[in-house]
Amino acid sequence: MSAPDAPPAHATHAARPLSDALLDPSCVHCGFCLPACPTYSVLQTEMDSPRGRLQLIEGLGTGRIEPTPQVVAHLDACLLCRACETACPSGVAFGERMEDARAAWHDAPRPLGRRLVERMLTRVVAAPPFVQRMLLGVGARLLALGDGLAAPFPLPARVRTAFALARQFDPRREPELVEGFVAMPRGRARLRVGLLLGCVQRHLFDDVNAATARLLVRAGCEVVIVRGQGCCGALASHAGQRESARSLARKLVAACDAAGPLDRIVSNAAGCGAALHGYPHLLPDDAEAADFAARTVDALELLDELGLPPARRAVPRRAVYHDACHHAHAQGLRAAPRRLLEAIPGLELLPLPDSERCCGSAGIYNLLEPRTADALLDDKLSRLHATGADTVLAANPGCLLHLRAGLLRARLPIEALHPLLLLDAAHRVLLDDEGEALLDADHAEDASA
C-alpha cells in the first residue's frame, strides 16, 4: 500500500517476459550495498547503487518505467563486480539479475559508440584463436607505426599509455601451450584436469597459462589443453548478448566433453571462472552445463586444495594481493590464493586496504565507461603506492591490463603480475639458457642461495 500521496503505479510501458528471479523482490532495501558499491562511491546517485539498479530493473520489468537512454545508462554503468552480493544480508543474486536485465533490454537505445565497441569486442573474443592472433598482429603493427609516427608530437596521456602498454606484448611470439597438448605428472596422476586458456589470457598472458600447467603437473595432475575450447562467454553475457553467450558456453562444454573424462575444468582468470560457475543460470535445464559448472575450479583454489611440494627457491619481493572481484565476490575465493603466496619463501605479502574494491577494469568496462573506471583506478593506485610494494598480484587479465595502464600513466615502479607467475617462479625447474624466466638474474641468484 502506498501513502495517499503516491501517484498510481500503473504499468504504462510494455512489460517484458522475465524470469522470476528478475522480479524477485527479496531485496528489502536495507541499503547495506551502498557503501560496498564502487560506482555508488564515484557517482553518488541512488540509480548507481545496487539497490537503485534493482528498483530500475523492477520498474522496467513491471512496465512502470520506460527504458529511456537515461535509465539504461545506469544499468550499463554497473561494473558487475558483485561486491554488493558480499555485502547483501538478504542474499540477492545481483549479478544474475543484472545480466538478465541487460539481456532483456539489449535492444534499448544506447549511444552508437558504445554499441560499436561492444559488438566489435564481443565478436573478437568469440572469433577462432588464429583470427584473434591475426587481428592482434595487425593491431600491434598499427600501434607500433602510430607510436613511431606520433613520437615527436605531444599526445594525450591515454594514447601514450596505450602505446607504452602495447610495447609490453609481442603478438608474434609463439604460444607455449597449444590446444591438444597433454602434460603428465611423474607417477600416477591424482586428477585429470582440462585447462582453459582464456580468450584474452592466451594471447596476452600466455606465460600465465604455461605457469598454470607446470604448477598443476607439479601438484600431480594430468593437464589436458582442451581442443577447440574458445571463449567462455563472460563478456557477451555481461553485455547482454545472451544468445551468443549461450552458444559459446555450449561450445565450451562440448569441447571439454570431447576431451575425455575430466575430473576438473581449471581456469586461471577470475572472470572466466565466475562465468563458468554461472552456466546453470545461463543455460537453465541443461544438465550437462550444470555438471560442467560443478567440476569448474580456479587454478589457485585447486592448487591450494591439492597442495604443492615445498618451493624450490625464494622469490624476494614485496607484494600486495588485489582480490579480483570475480574471485572474492563471485567465487568467495579469498584465503586460498593468500595461503599459496604466503608459502613462497622470500615473498613478503603486505596488506592492501580495500583489496576487494574493484580496480575499474571489469571486462571492457574501462573502454565503455572510462571516467568511472579511471576514478576507481586512481583510488586503487594511491592505495597501492601507499603500501610501498614493488609488485601487485591480480588473478585476472582485465585487472592486470588496467592496472598496468594505470601504473604506466602514474609512473609508479610497481609490477602487476598474475599470482601464478610468482608461484611458478618459486616452483619451476630453471633450465640453462631458458630466456623466458620471469625473474631477472639477481632474483634467481638470491633464490638459489
Binding site: A3, D5, A6, V28, H29, C30, P89, G91, V92
Partner: protein, 476 residues
C-alpha cells in the same frame, strides 16, 4: 520551443548552479527516489537535486520557498517510517554528496561533519585518536549523520551512552525560508538542539553537525546467552538492569531472526534455544571481571542454557555483524518485512512479547523479534511474502495494533525510527489534542509556509490548519 512551467524554470536554475548532472528530473530515474528503507511508503518526487554545501542548500531552499514547492532532505534512504519521501509533489535534496568530515578535534573530543557523512565514518575518522561516536544504529555502515539527527537515532550502545541528542553539540541549520543559522555550541537560552534533533526534517535542513566523541573503552567483553524462551530472556534482562548494572548493550534476538542469520552468515544458535541475549560490558579493566561475573551469575540464575564470551575483536565483530545485519538478513526467510519500533517499560517485556505473538497469530502472520531489550525498545518485524494490497493492509494493521499495545502498557510509538508518514495518524493515541496543538504551533512558527517536509510527524486529522486553529484556541 514549448513554454516551460514554473517548476521547469526552477529546476533549470538549479541545473545552472549545480550542473545538469546534479538535477534528476525524468520519471524513470526518479522512481528510485520514491521510497526509503520502508516497504510501505513511497511517493514519486518531482525532482532530485544534489547540493554540495550549505550555500547550495540555502539557495535551493530559498528558491523552493519563493516558488512554493515543497522540499525534503534525504541521506542514504535507510529510514523506516517514510520520513524522506517527497509528498505533495515536492523535490528531494539528496545530501549524500555533502560527505566531508570537516574537523576532528582530539583535545575537545568533537567532530564537525557534513550531513551526508556515514555514521560509521565518524568513528573511523576518530579512531586514530582512540575516540569513537557512540550512537550506532544497525544501519550505521550506510546511514548518514544528517538522518541520525533528524530521527534522534539510537542503536545497541545507546543503553549506556544515550541517543543522538546526547551527543550533538551544535548544528548549522538552513531554515525553511533559506536563512542559515547556527544552533547550540552553548547551554543558554532555549535548547534548540533538543528541538531540532528528532524533528524529522520538518523544521529546516541541517547542513553541518558538531558531535561529541567518546574515548574508546579500555576493555570490552561481549556475552552471548541462550534461553529456552523469550520470557526467560526478558526476565534475565530485567534482573541485570535491576541489579544496577548498565551494560554497554543488551540486545535480544528470537529464533526466527537466528534462522535468518544462520542462512546469511552461518551464525550458530545453541540447540533448543528460543532466544539469544547479547550483553556487552565495557569500561576500565579493574572491576570488569567482577561485573562480568555478576552478569553471568544473573543470566544463569534466570535460565541461561549456555553462555559464551567473546573477548577478542574478531569474535566480537562476528557477533555484531550478525546483529547489525539482522534486519537485512530477514530477506532470507521472507520476501518483505515490516518492522515496528515500539517502546515499553522494560518490566512489561514478557507481556508485550506475548501480545505481539497473539496479534500475529490472530492475523496469520509471522513475526521475528530483534530489539534493544535493555531500554525496552522493541522491533517486531512482521514477515510477509505477497505484494497484494490485502496482505499489506493486514500487515499495517498488525503494526498499528502492536503499537496500540505499547501505548496501553505505558510506552511510546517510536524509539528511534521516527513518526514520519507511518505513525503520524497514531500520534493522537499518545497525545491529547492540546498536546499536539502545541507541536503544530511550534512547527507553524518555524515553517510558516509548511513546505519543509510536509505531512510528516503530526496527524493530518481534518487538516493541519484545523489543528493549528485548535492550538491557537488552546493557547488563548
Amino acid at each position: 520551443m514549448t513554454p516551460r512551467d514554473p517548476l521547469d524554470r526552477l529546476l533549470d536554475s538549479f541545473a545552472a548552479r549545480l550542473g545538469a548532472e546534479a538535477v534528476v528530473r525524468d520519471a524513470g530515474r526518479l522512481h528510485v527516489y520514491a521510497g526509503d528503507g520502508s516497504p510501505m511508503h513511497d511517493a514519486l518526487p518531482r525532482a532530485v537535486v544534489f547540493p554540495r554545501d550549505t550555500a547550495d542548500v540555502a539557495a535551493i531552499v530559498r528558491a523552493c520557498a519563493d516558488a512554493r514547492v515543497p522540499f525534503v532532505a534525504r541521506g542514504a534512504g535507510t529510514g523506516l517510517s517514510g520520513g524522506a519521501t517527497a509528498l505533495d509533489g515536492g523535490i528531494v535534496l539528496a545530501l549524500n554528496r555533502m560527505d566531508r568530515v570537516l574537523a576532528v578535534d582530539p583535545v575537545d573530543r568533537t567532530a564537525t561533519l557534513e550531513p551526508g557523512v556515514r555514521n560509521l565514518a565518524v568513528s573511523e575518522a576518530a579512531a586514530e585518536h582512540g575516540l569513537f561516536y557512540a550512537p550506532d544504529p544497525s544501519s550505521q555502515a550506510v546511514c548518514t549523520v544528517g538522518g541520525n539527527v533528524a530521527h534522534n537515532s539510537g542503536g545497541p550502545h545507546t543503553l549506556k551512552h544515550g541517543v543522538t541528542v546526547n551527543h550533538v553539540l551544535g548544528l548549522t541549520l538552513v531554515q525553511p525560508d533559506g536563512h542559515v543559522v547556527r544552533v547550540g555550541d552553548g547551554a543558554c537560552g532555549y535548547d534548540l538542539l533538543a528541538l531540532l534533533t528528532g524533528s524529522e526534517g520538518t523544521l529546516g535542513i541541517v547542513t553541518e553537525v558538531t558531535v561529541r566523541l567518546l574515548r574508546r573503552p579500555e576493555t570490552v567483553v561481549t556475552l552471548l546467552a541462550a534461553f529456552d524462551s523469550i520470557e526467560a530472556a526478558s526476565e534475565a534482562t530485567s534482573a541485570v538492569i535491576a541489579a544496577g548494572i548498565v551494560p554497554a548493550a543488551l540486545e535480544m534476538l528470537d529464533a526466527e531472526v537466528v534462522t535468518a542469520l544462520r542462512a546469511a552468515f552461518g551464525f550458530e544458535f545453541p540447540g533448543g534455544a528460543q532466544a539469544l541475549l547479547l550483553v556487552e560490558c565495557d569500561g576500565v579493566l579493574p572491576g570488569m571481571d567482577e561485573e562480568l561475573a555478576d552478569v553471568s551469575t544473573l543470566l544463569r540464575e534466570h535460565g541461561a542454557l549456555s553462555l559464551r564470551a567473546a573477548h577478542d575483536d574478531a569474535e566480537r565483530a562476528e557477533i555484531w555483524t550478525a546483529r547489525k545485519k539482522a534486519f537485512g538478513a530477514l530477506g532470507r526467510i521472507a520476501r518483505h518485512y515490516y518492522t515496528q519500533d515500539g517502546v515499553i517499560p522494560r518490566t512489561r517485556l514478557p507481556e508485550m512479547l506475548r501480545r505481539v505473538r497473539e496479534v500475529a497469530a490472530r492475523r496469520g502472520l509471522r513475526v521475528a523479534n530483534v530489539f534493544h531489550a535493555g531500554d525496552g525498545n522493541l522491533h517486531p518485524c512482521i514477515l510477509f511474502d505477497s505484494d497484494d494490497d490485502k496482505t499489506k493492509r493486514n500487515v499495517l494493521e498488525a503494526g498499528a495494533e502492536i503499537l496500540r499495545h505499547c501505548v496501553e502498557l505505558g510506552g511510546s510509538l517510536t524509539g528511534e525510527h521516527g513518526v514520519g508518514v507511518e505513525k503520524r495518524e497514531w500520534m493522537s493515541t499518545l497525545y491529547a489534542p492540546d498536546d499536539l496543538a502545541v507541536m503544530a504551533r511550534l512547527r507553524d512558527a518555524l515553517d510558516p509556509s509548511g513546505l519543509c517536509n510536509p505531512k510528516k510527524v503530526l496527524p493530518l486529522g481534518a487538516g493541519c490548519g484545523e489543528l493549528s486553529a485548535l492550538g491557537r484556541r488552546a493557547a488563548l
